[in-house]
Symmetry: C2
Subunit: 440 residues, 2 copies
Amino acid sequence: MSRPIDDTHRLDLTSWVESAQEPGTDFPIQNLPYGVFRAPGDSRDHIGVAIGDKILDLARCRYQLLLKDLRGDVQFVSAADTLNPLMDLGVNHWQSLRNRISALLTEPGMKSRVEPCLFEADEVEMRLPAAIGDYTDFYASLEHATHIGSLFRPDNPLLPNYKWIPIGYHGRSSSVVVSGTPIRRPSGQRKGPDDHEPHFEPCQMLDYELELGFFVGGPGNKLGDPIAIEDAENHIFGVCLLNDWSARDLQAWEYQPLGPFLAKSFATSISPWVVTLEALAPYRCAPRSRPAGDPEPLSYLQVGDGSQAGLDLELEVDLVTGRMRRREEGPHRVSQSRFRSMYWTMSQMLTHHASNGCNMRTGDLLGSGTISGEERDAMGCLLEITRRGAEPLVLADGDERSMLEDGDEVILTGRCAREGFATIGFGECRGRIQSAGAHG
Amino acid sequence: MSRPIDDTHRLDLTSWVESAQEPGTDFPIQNLPYGVFRAPGDSRDHIGVAIGDKILDLARCRYQLLLKDLRGDVQFVSAADTLNPLMDLGVNHWQSLRNRISALLTEPGMKSRVEPCLFEADEVEMRLPAAIGDYTDFYASLEHATHIGSLFRPDNPLLPNYKWIPIGYHGRSSSVVVSGTPIRRPSGQRKGPDDHEPHFEPCQMLDYELELGFFVGGPGNKLGDPIAIEDAENHIFGVCLLNDWSARDLQAWEYQPLGPFLAKSFATSISPWVVTLEALAPYRCAPRSRPAGDPEPLSYLQVGDGSQAGLDLELEVDLVTGRMRRREEGPHRVSQSRFRSMYWTMSQMLTHHASNGCNMRTGDLLGSGTISGEERDAMGCLLEITRRGAEPLVLADGDERSMLEDGDEVILTGRCAREGFATIGFGECRGRIQSAGAHG
């Protein structure tokens, strides 16, 4: 059940925050994503809402009694230092807080009272938006799974379970970091094709993966109780961009028989702004049609073609190398892809995850898996683009990349656009590679 | 670096708690494991120490000023509602608190002041001992890996990476439950060998796995910084029993290519008492010698044969079926095995886990993987014992088991014994299977 389109999405809605009207802003009045930030000189984290190039401090709004017509618990969670208590409240309260924030930022009469609650976005430090209990990563792009499978099993790229199960694995929550956190190149055991023995040394095949993350809320389910597919979106608070950094050489040597482990757990980056499902209402779409001959999902995973279980989100990966930075050259656009092409929807992933009774907790993070299209310029990781390094990516400045090098910075962005509605963005998910250093 | 043997381990040490002297008690004065409990009528969880058939309430001890000669932060963490703050303090403080508790329970002059801080163990409710951030499960028994591998790859049971890497995977922390919590049979996708398509239905191959769990403390490491093998035990607070419940049919269909997921995440049981590395000092032993021809571990994993990195712990699995319970018959002993036979030590698992810079947090739980010996009566799960159901286990009452049935209760126990020292036990890790029920 997707959220309704309402007055907070109207294209003619304008904020008295002028930068929210600038063309190309990720954060017009129709977006209102939540994040957690620390203001200069402050010792405590606050919840903020992005608006143009400003951040609305919800704790200050509460202290200024700007939220006082909301229920007590909604006011209370607005002054928390993570989004978890807000994520826990559920759809009705999410809607009422959004309505209130929209009103605060649009009604001209509110400006003088609300303006003292604004910070310049470029003057604060963004933090992880939630305390993440468990992090799970899926593999929901048919194209990604096919491309990867074809590198390892050319005759049989897709395993027999793929079209039945939203394949996923448990990830590491401790090393989920917010955009901007430097990513140290991991060391680990690698064994080249000509090596007799593995060696412990810095990763030589460091890759990114373009993904969408989504946060559980609403709250979750009790241990033993599954989540019905019709109810799944009531347990999703919002989405962010996610970079599932991957050490391909470590992974190749370690992953049999229990799956990826240290190849992933050194770092996962997420964007600081959580775009709510409320904000995304206008951009929902039918889920991808299954190719002819594919099985129907089992009944517990059926969402119906007429549903709005898909999401029309455009994603982009940009790369800034150390050389570009020194020359003050712009980023190289590596790929663009669309989330609507995913084989499995967010609801299907969440429902499958809880189908064995696994309890999902508020603040748990689920990753979609790499979002890839069919063509090379729509592939979401270098392993696919370069075919495991065999066909290096040629950058605009003539440089080449098989995999990431020290100093490379990967920038993920995303935006939703629809005729008759505002274009909303996701901000950035950035990470720059540091050398393995003394530990390598 | 294992902990020193000291006066708290002396065999002639006696407690004024009489039941601590009873032969066969798991909790003599030399043990002093920590747990978290809730007393009848209380609304808050307290840290307790098991002594005989009693529990010493540390929060009450603090309020009674019985800990006042300890540093302020040690007193403070003793009144917490999880073990995490205590786990965070580090080796020196763990030792000083142990010394104090040992003195409180041995000095006859303390009895009148300490006795009001005791509860009957069978009158309280035990809780999860820690807030577990991430849970990781290893696969450190060579025999287990070989037995399992031989079921699926008779010609090549052990994969090439096994003797180089402590193989592990990220587990699910939300569904870790304390001993005694009922285990609902999970449902999920299964596909029999003769099925054309998978079906969503209750698991038909439900299994247990006998494991040891160990908790990170001390505190952990920062993201990006590995943990040196020599330092690893300073980051381990203590150990418990762990049952890694496994849905074998779900696992067979789902696990390629990213590893076990819903086959594991429905529940993991742990015993309520965390036996500290301080208590285990007398029972440490050299790590298992590697069989001739096996590679030496890479240098970052080398502990040295002369070290005390092993642990001489005897483990046992008992089963009570519904029929036994109705007839009031005793449990059937299914297997006995020894932790000292593990191919990888706790230090090696922890150091490997952090070798890519993955940050380990206080309260993180690591499981050893199924602890199996070579023989059938030393195998730690039914998949091994029954060779995937082909050779059912015959119980004492003539009943048979290929896998677990509804109403079956699995009981894990463990004890350390050494000539000249007390025998200390781990208590129990119990779980009884409930039917899949209405959700199935």
